[in-house]
C-alpha cells in the first residue's frame, strides 16, 4: 500500500520546503523508543539513501526506509489544527495501541 498525504498536508509541506530553501521531500519513518514502543519521525530530506522507497503525493516526494515501511504501510499524513496548535498527524492503519498522547504507538 502506498504512503500518501492529504492535500492540506502536502500544501503545508510545500510551503515549509520552499521557505527552507532546500530539500527534495519529506522522510517518514519510525524509531523504537517512547513510552509505548515506537515513535514517528518526520524530517526534511536533503539526500535520499539508496534503499529508500520513494512515494509521491500531491507533488511532494515521501521517502521511507524499508524497515520503517513495515510499520507505517498505508499511512496517510494529514495536517490538523487543534485550537492554536497545528501540525502533522500520521493516520496509520497498522496501529493497535498508542500512548495517551499518541506520540508513540505499538503495532
Amino acid at each position: 500500500m502506498p504512503i500518501s498525504m492529504t492535500e492540506k498536508a502536502a500544501s503545508r509541506a510545500k510551503n515549509y520546503l520552499e521557505s527552507r530553501g532546500k530539500g527534495m521531500g519529506l522522510k517518514l519513518a519510525v524509531k523504537t523508543t517512547g513510552c509505548s514502543g515506537m515513535a514517528y519521525v518526520l524530517e526534511f530530506v536533503d539526500e535520499a539513501s539508496p534503499d529508500d522507497q520513494i512515494f509521491e503525493s500531491h507533488g511532494i516526494k515521501i521517502l521511507v526506509d524499508p524497515k520503517s515501511l513495515i510499520y507505517i504501510d498505508g499511512t496517510e499524513l494529514d495536517f490538523v489544527r487543534e485550537g492554536l496548535n497545528e501540525g502533522f498527524q500520521f493516520n496509520n492503519p497498522n496501529v493497535k495501541d498508542s500512548c495517551g498522547c499518541g506520540e508513540s504507538f505499538t503495532v
Binding site: 515549509y16 513510552c35 492554536l84 496548535n85 501540525g87 498522547c101 506520540e103
Partner: protein, 617 residues
C-alpha cells in the same frame, strides 16, 4: 493526539522530549513571541488572532489583565494601567522623569514601586505578567511545555537592566536560553548569515528605544562592530511631539492623568494614520475643548525634525566607531514599528543613498530572529550561527587619585575575559578596594559606579610588591563578573555585577557625548590626579626617611628638606599641576643626597659582620 512538526534531517526528538523553544521580543509598546515551526520562523498568535501583545498591564483589586484588555483601561483608569514598563525596568526612581508616567511611582529600596489597586508592583513583576502571557500563547500554539526562550533587549541595556529582564523571565517561569541584542536578532531574521559577507546597518526605532548597529558579516559569522542609540528615544517621543503641539495650541490640562492619556492616544492615532495617508483630519473633544486640526505629513515632519536628526546623528556616530563610511554599507535594515513613518524612511534612505531592507514586517523581525536563535541553541536548527555582541561602554576600576583604569574597552566583542595586574600603594597594605566603574571619562566621579568590593588578606609587603590580578569577565548576556586575586597567596575576592537596579542608565547617551566633548578637560584632570598621586607618595617616603635617618643630615640640610616638604604639602591642594610638579621635583632633587646616604648606611648594615666570601651578589 500529538501533532508533529517537520524536523531537520537527523534532528527528530524522542517522544515527550520536544525541544520547544521560543523567541520573545519584549518591547516597550508591544511584545511578540515567535517560534520555528517545521523549519520556518512564525509569530505565534493569540486567541484573538492578533500577533502583537500590547505591553500593557492593568491591575484591579483582584485581577491582572495584560494586552489589549489592559490597554482598554488606559483612558478610564490610567493610574492602574501600566504601559512602557520597559522604560522603568532596572532603574531607580531618580533615573526617571515622573512627569512622563501617568503612574504613582515611589522609591522601593532601589527598585521603583508602582502603586496599584492590587498593591505595590515593581517593573520586574509587571514585565513578568507580560512574559507569562506570551508563555501561555506559546504553549497553546506549540502544544506543550517550553524548553526555553531567547529574549531580546536593546543593545544599550546596561547590566542592571539585563539582569532585571532575566529576573522577570524567571518570575514568569521561562527558562532563559540567552538574552540577545535586538538588532542582532533582526539581522538573523533577515537571513544575513546566508550571505557570504558584507557590512550592514540595523536601524531600530521602536516604541521607546532607538538602536543603531553596524554589523560585519563574513563566512556566515556575525560581528557587531559598533552600537549607538538612545534608550529614551522612540515612537512615544514622536507621539509626545504631537501632544506638546496640541497642548500648546489648545491649552489642555496635561497635569490631569485622564486628559494626558486621552491626548496620548489621539497623538498616536494621528501619527499612525500619517504613515499611509498624506494628511489626516481630526475633530475631537478633550477636557471640554474642541480640537479641530488637519495634519499633513510635512507638518508632522516639522514637529519631529529634531528627533529625526538625533537618529541620524547616532547613526553617523556608530559608523564612525566602526570606521566605515555610508558608501561602505551593503544594506540598511529597518526594524521597529516607528520605521513605518515615511519621514524616517526618507531620512535614512537619503543618508545611505540606497534602497532600505524593509520587506519584513518591522514589528516582527526581532521576535522572528530571536526564535531562529532559540531554535539553533536548542539544537533543532540546520546550521550553527555564532552571534557576537559588544560592550556598549568601557569597563574599568578606580586606581589611586580617583583615576579610571580601563580594563575592557567599549565595543569589545562578547564574551570576553580580560585581566590586568595591579599593586599596593602603601607599605604593609593588606586590603584593596576594587571599585568597578563604567564609562568613557578619565575620572571616577564622571563614570558610573557599578560595584565595590574589598580584597583582604594581602600579605604585608612594601608598596608595589604585591601582585593583584583583576579579571573582568562579560558573558554573552552582557553580564559582568569581576574577580581580584593576590597571586602569591591566591587570596581571592569577586563580585557579580547584579541588580543595583537603576544605575543611571539615562545618562549613557550624555556620558558618551561628554566623553568626546570633555576629552581635553579629562586629559588635564588625569594629569593632575597623577601628579598628586606621585607627590603624595614622595611626601610619605620623605617623612618616613626623616623619621628613620634624620641623623644623617646636617641641621641646614634638614631645614632645607623640611621646607621643601612643607612647600609641596602647601601646593598639593591647589589645582595647579605645574606648581605641584615643580615642588615635587624640588623636593626630589633636594633629597637625592639624603637618599644616597641612606642607601650607604643600609648597605653597610647588611655588610657588617660578614666575611667577603659569604656575600652573594
Amino acid at each position: 493526539m500529538a501533532l508533529l512538526q517537520i524536523s531537520e534531517p537527523g534532528k527528530s526528538t524522542m517522544p515527550h522530549e520536544h525541544r520547544r523553544v521560543i523567541g520573545i521580543d519584549l518591547g516597550t509598546t508591544n511584545s511578540l513571541v515567535a517560534s520555528v515551526i517545521s523549519g520556518s520562523p512564525a509569530i505565534l498568535i493569540q486567541d484573538d488572532k492578533s500577533n502583537l501583545l500590547p505591553s500593557v498591564v492593568y491591575y484591579s483589586k483582584n485581577t491582572v489583565q495584560v494586552g489589549n484588555e489592559a490597554r482598554d483601561h488606559q483612558s478610564n483608569d490610567a493610574e492602574n494601567t501600566i504601559s512602557s514598563v520597559k522604560r522603568l525596568i532596572g532603574k531607580t526612581i531618580d533615573d526617571v522623569n515622573q512627569v512622563n508616567f501617568p503612574l504613582n511611582l515611589s522609591d522601593g529600596d532601589g527598585v521603583i514601586n508602582i502603586k496599584t489597586s492590587n498593591g505595590m508592583k515593581n517593573p520586574i513583576e509587571v514585565s513578568a505578567e507580560i512574559l507569562k502571557m506570551l508563555r501561555t500563547v506559546a504553549e497553546n500554539n506549540l502544544g506543550g511545555e517550553l524548553m526555553g526562550a531567547v529574549v531580546t533587549v536593546p543593545a544599550y541595556f546596561d547590566d542592571a537592566q539585563r539582569q532585571a529582564t532575566k529576573d522577570a523571565c524567571q518570575l514568569a517561569g521561562l527558562n532563559i536560553l540567552r538574552l540577545i541584542n535586538e538588532p542582532t536578532a533582526a539581522a538573523v531574521a533577515y537571513g544575513l548569515d546566508k550571505k557570504s559577507m558584507g557590512q550592514f546597518v540595523v536601524f531600530d526605532l521602536g516604541g521607546g528605544t532607538f538602536d543603531v548597529s553596524i554589523l560585519n558579516l563574513s563566512k556566515g559569522l556575525f560581528e557587531v562592530l559598533a552600537t549607538h542609540g538612545d534608550a529614551n528615544l522612540g515612537g512615544d517621543d514622536f507621539d509626545q511631539a504631537i501632544v506638546n503641539f496640541l497642548n500648546n495650541k489648545y491649552k489642555l490640562n496635561i497635569k490631569d492623568i485622564e486628559v494626558q492619556s486621552m491626548i496620548s492616544i489621539l497623538a498616536r492615532e494621528i501619527k499612525e494614520s500619517l504613515s499611509n495617508k498624506k494628511e489626516v483630519e481630526i475633530l475631537k473633544e478633550i477636557n471640554g475643548k474642541e480640537i479641530k486640526e488637519t495634519f499633513t505629513q510635512q507638518q508632522f515632519k516639522a514637529l519631529v525634525n529634531d528627533l529625526i536628526e538625533q537618529t541620524l546623528k547616532a547613526t553617523k556616530n556608530a559608523l564612525n566607531d566602526a570606521k566605515l563610511s555610508t558608501d561602505q554599507i551593503d544594506g540598511v535594515i529597518m526594524v521597529g514599528g516607528s520605521t513605518r513613518m515615511p519621514c524616517i524612511q526618507e531620512a535614512v534612505g537619503n543618508l545611505f543613498k540606497q534602497d532600505l531592507l524593509n520587506d519584513l514586517n518591522p514589528d516582527e523581525v526581532v521576535a522572528l530572529g530571536a526564535a531562529i536563535q532559540a531554535n539553533i541553541l536548542a539544537g533543532n536548527g540546520q546550521e550553527d550561527i555564532l552571534l557576537l555582541d559588544v560592550t556598549p561602554l568601557s569597563l574599568g576600576i578606580e586606581t589611586m587619585g580617583s583615576i579610571v583604569e580601563r580594563i575592557i574597552p567599549r565595543n569589545t566583542t562578547l564574551p570576553i575575559a580580560m585581566a590586568q595586574e595591579f599593586t599596593t600603594y602603601k607599605d604593609g597594605q593588606t586590603a584593596m578596594i576594587i571599585h568597578v566603574v563604567q564609562g568613557e571619562r578619565d575620572l571616577v566621579d564622571d563614570c558610573r559606579s557599578l560595584a565595590k568590593f574589598t580584597l583582604k588578606k594581602i600579605p604585608p609587603m612594601v608598596a608595589g610588591a604585591a601582585k593583584i590580578k583583576v579579571t573582568f569577565q562579560v558573558d554573552t548576556d552582557g553580564l559582568l563578573s569581576v574577580s581580584a586575586e593576590e597571586t602569591t597567596t591566591n587570596e581571592k575576592a569577586s563580585i557579580e555585577v547584579k541588580p543595583s537596579y537603576g544605575l543611571s542608565e539615562d545618562n549613557i547617551k550624555t556620558m558618551l557625548q561628554s566623553s568626546y566633548d570633555l576629552a581635553e578637560e579629562d586629559k588635564i584632570s588625569r594629569a593632575l590626579a597623577e601628579t598628586k598621586v606621585e607627590a603624595n607618595q614622595l611626601i610619605e617616603l620623605t617623612q618616613k626617611a626623616l623619621d628613620a635617618d634624620k641623623d644623617l643630615l646636617s641641621d641646614s640640610e634638614l631645614t632645607s628638606i623640611k621646607n621643601d616638604l612643607k612647600d609641596l604639602i602647601n601646593v598639593l591642594n591647589s589645582s595647579n599641576n605645574d606648581k605641584i610638579k615643580e615642588a615635587t621635583k624640588q623636593l626630589n632633587t633636594k633629597s637625592e643626597p639624603f637618599a644616597a646616604k641612606r642607601m650607604d648606611r643600609s648597605i653597610q648594615k647588611a655588610l657588617t659582620g660578614k666575611s667577603i666570601n659569604k656575600l652573594e651578589f
